[in-house]
Assembly symmetry: D2
Homo-oligomer: 342 residues x 4
């Protein structure tokens, strides 16, 4: 059976990545693409790498018909997303890739995003889209909230450790290195090639990055008490990939066995043999996440390193994985393409 899908905000990088993945999916058919600023254009004009595909022309959201549409992927900017989703007809199911439905608490949302949520009722029903940890709820959800790409990376490294109490909750540091496509196709000076290439710097230093809202929400819920981590993201002179180096107090063997067991049956989350650690080069353009564990020379200190592709496992791949679950399809359909190397 073929399901009809529409992608809102298809002129951004997450939209293009979804089209790439869906193009070899056996059960999904793209019937609508919106991109307000580029409405009327073909996808070949906006993304020439997709010109071999037979795709609908970009429209405005207003001009899009949702008749017969089973699933909507929403790649709109934050704040816009909640307004658009609130108006979608009841029969469509939705995977949102914006930040709008990641936080369950309206006060938290306001704290991190600086304004009241426009669809607080919907917000409460949204399921957090970290597939491996919310699989059952996702299957039956109408609205799934895609996670932050950095938030996903840090959680894959830490969730099983927090729920198993194998690490000290008050000494967790996530030093994260992220490639630039996570910032989207936005015209900002610091995203220019001349500014970024041969460069590297931190940003949102000191605990101001919005993905901390997700870490706080999820880690505190798992621990049953408030947990605050330190989180410093850095921008890499690369296009795809996130590498999170996580410093914890805990025994490396215990950490490694806890992660290994937690992900033993997961297709996409791979715990490396103890002592090995990953590179963003080895998961690029794929839905895989590699996690390594190394003991520090200081007893009781352990380093966990996780790598995933922000556009795939960190966003559009995750979205497709969740959509597969929601539609009752094979969870891995369209997602088994191997990483691209070199």
């Amino acid at each position: 059976m073929t399901y009809n899908v529409a992608i809102l905000g298809a002129s951004g990088y997450t939209g293009a990545e979804l089209v790439r993945l869906i193009s070899t999916h056996p059960d999904l058919k793209i019937v609508g693409l919106s991109g307000n600023s580029k409405a009327g254009m073909t996808m070949a004009e906006v993304f020439p790498h997709l010109r071999h595909l037979d795709l609908p022309r970009l429209t405005t959201i207003e001009d899009m018909s949702f008749d017969g549409v089973d699933m909507v992927f929403c790649g709109l900017p934050h704040a816009t997303s909640q307004e658009v989703i609130a108006k979608l007809p009841d029969h469509v199911r939705i995977v949102d890739m914006s930040a709008d439905f990641r936080l369950r608490d309206t006060a938290d949302y306001e704290k991190w995003y600086g304004k009241a949520h426009a669809a607080p009722d919907l917000q409460k029903t949204a399921v957090y889209g970290l597939t491996e940890f919310y699989r059952e709820q996702i299957k039956t959800a109408r609205l799934v909230a895609g996670t932050g790409c950095n938030a996903a990376t840090g959680q894959y490294a830490l969730r099983p450790l927090i729920s198993s109490s194998v690490i000290d909750l008050d000494h967790i540091i996530i030093d994260l290195k992220a490639a630039v496509s996570g910032a989207g196709r936005s015209l900002k000076e610091n995203l220019l090639h001349a500014e970024l290439s041969e460069g590297a710097h931190a940003y949102a230093v000191g605990g101001t990055h919005r993905h901390l809202g997700e870490f706080d929400q999820e880690f505190s819920a798992i621990a049953g008490r408030p947990v605050q981590v330190q989180f410093t993201p850095h921008l890499l002179p690369a296009n795809r990939g996130i590498l999170a180096t996580v410093y914890v107090h805990g025994d490396a063997d215990e950490v490694h066995s806890t992660l290994s067991q937690a992900y033993a049956n997961e297709t996409f989350i791979i715990t490396l043999p103890k002592g090995e650690h990953p590179s963003i080069k080895h998961i690029r353009a794929s839905n895989f996440c590699h996690i390594g564990v190394v003991a520090d020379r200081i007893p009781g200190r352990t380093i966990i390193i996780a790598a995933l592709d922000n556009l795939t496992k960190g966003s559009s791949g995750q979205a497709l994985q969740n959509a597969n679950l929601m539609l009752g399809l094979n969870e891995t359909s369209g997602l088994m393409v191997a990483p691209v190397f070199p």
Copy 2:
């Protein structure tokens, strides 16, 4: 029906690219992988990006059994390839990705490669692997010779024009820009990141690049008289992709319509609307080749620009496309993955 394939020289980039493509191919199963210098290692050790796959361990060629093997892909270095292939059992069919069987004439081979061919009889039976132009011969061939990646790019831009006599055969210049993976995983100073990044330079300037042997052979055969082109390759600070800017004397409209017609029914060769031209960014990690045609301000002068990925359409993708034909499979199986952007 599943066919068993073996890859010789699997520890190089073309070997890894083949594994990537075959990993989602419905009808092929990898049963053997050789890599003499890395025999005994797993592919996950040699190429960690492939660690999610269940693959045979690397062996030496001597230790490899060809019983039950239907197809051998050969990614060995030049000169080694001809010796190995000459000893393969009769029942296997072979796609060679080295330069050893590209030139049909033994004297030409000796001229460009500096030594006599070790398997001249085999050389005569090999079919030149430029799929779109040798399709029928490839279907029944036992041995197909993969083309040079630069040679493929230039030929896609020029073959239909030479056979249609729409350009002046004495004024053809191919100024080509190639990413570094074409040089393979070899330890050479000029391939180091510190030497190449932020750099760009020509190489083999003046008509010394071996792929000229292919241009000479093919273009002269088509034209029915000797044709010599000028060909200057340049090294780009990028990993994948070839961009060939071709300068011809001929009418742009005629050039464009000739190419459009020639490739009208081809899945992978896409002629862009007249006036548009391609980027290597838009075919990366895919089997597509984009070709653009632009009229110069000087009447009668036309620029043709062709782009393909040297590892995919220029090598391993071409090899798989040819193998599909040889095995009677759908020609595009395993090859429809969209380009990766950004």
Copy 3:
């Protein structure tokens, strides 16, 4: 003696490059910096790499005093430049780095830039700033027009050959590869890291690039008859550098000896031994231009390859070299820093 200089448009890349070069110049002192959109900011805020320098704060042009200013460098956008320069007080001498005064003929200007020149009288008095060929006029000029960076590269390869009649004037092709900083610090989608890195493509194909106006003007003047070249620029995934591969009909020995003699006494223009050719990696962040000559396998065809840094020898370094001449200083002051490698 110290001369006071002001830089208009100091918040762009050419402005920053000038500050970098002048920072070690023994005879120049920066007394004014303008940057209308960033007026009020310090240079450390706009360009943190210059934070160790004691520099004036950015102002608007209106707020800048030209009392005591000996030399103005003008890094403003095209069209703006001519309006600002027309109003500068008589006592200042000017090196303009925009395109506004490169073309001597008002009709040519209108043809290539699409509007009438706002200061046609000034236009006539401007000296074309290709130092090595206009040295005497530059010494006494009030206004020197910096050349296009691509135009400079092509001219270094070709001028001596045209004036010596050693090449066929009707078969000249300049295939040029340019790094991205030549496009300035402008917010355009195609200049984003995610769009450019790992990419390469041509632009302004077919004879539409404005630097052709300079080629036409200069080459025709030298030859004493109209000369039109073919010129195809390409964008490289790199920040600095231009590599021009020039195809001519002419004898390689004659070409090489002509260039060698022409530049024998020039500090910055270096003709490589015959058969060698340059890389942009080897002139980066310096005022040097390397030129190589190689004979093609086709008799009578020669390839010339020239490399320079678009921001230095192609723009700000040239500007400083010209200013040195205008002020009676040592021509090479502030310009002898070696290229940065790797």
Copy 4:
């Protein structure tokens, strides 16, 4: 007065960087260059970016005369360096850029480098070359040991804090990101462009990197008790630059004021305004080090970020700064070139 200098190991990146810096130094003249594997070649052949300079031809060390040589810079590989330096005539003063004389204790040397020191007496006399902290000893030293580039970066961030007791000595984490030129011009697979570009990964994870020997030695000496830090280096897809993100327990205001005061009179070490933090893009190809301090949201936690260029301030620039001191020259001679941006 002009001093004669020789560079041993001039065919590596640190050798080339020294030549670049010395080329504009008013008081130093390069009279000897060694490079055993490339003896007999000109520097223009080994490093074409230096072809405009009049430099001696490369020789073997054996063939080099040290008559009249005042200063030797030694850029040889570890272990080789100690053997060569032990045999140098008494009249030359030496700045070693290898790791051979960084550790004062012979047991420490053996622990980190895996073999006994071949010149233990010399080892004891060597002065640790972190200029700002060993200035007086350097002035009179015969042999100065250049520091590790990573070790320098971490120490600039931490030394004043350890000596002032403003941070908890048992909770120091240095998460460091280093560009690839720090690994030298060595032919290793992981240094190839195709392997590194678009990649990022940690190395020497868990406390095995040799620069930890320097941290241990220096921090313990300052603190007067053993201090062990956590240190995880990462490889960046860039050529130059080190960014160290340092996590400490301590008050951000106190940290910032301590660093500001410590470096108030230093030319090359710049403490940024509190809350700002550096980029490797802003110190590239210069001798400057930028340090930023940011308070974390968790009270009592502070992040310090330091950036320098591994080849300049981290190696050859430091070497020249030390040589200037040893020869009684202006400490900053040849070192005031501004960073190259973009």
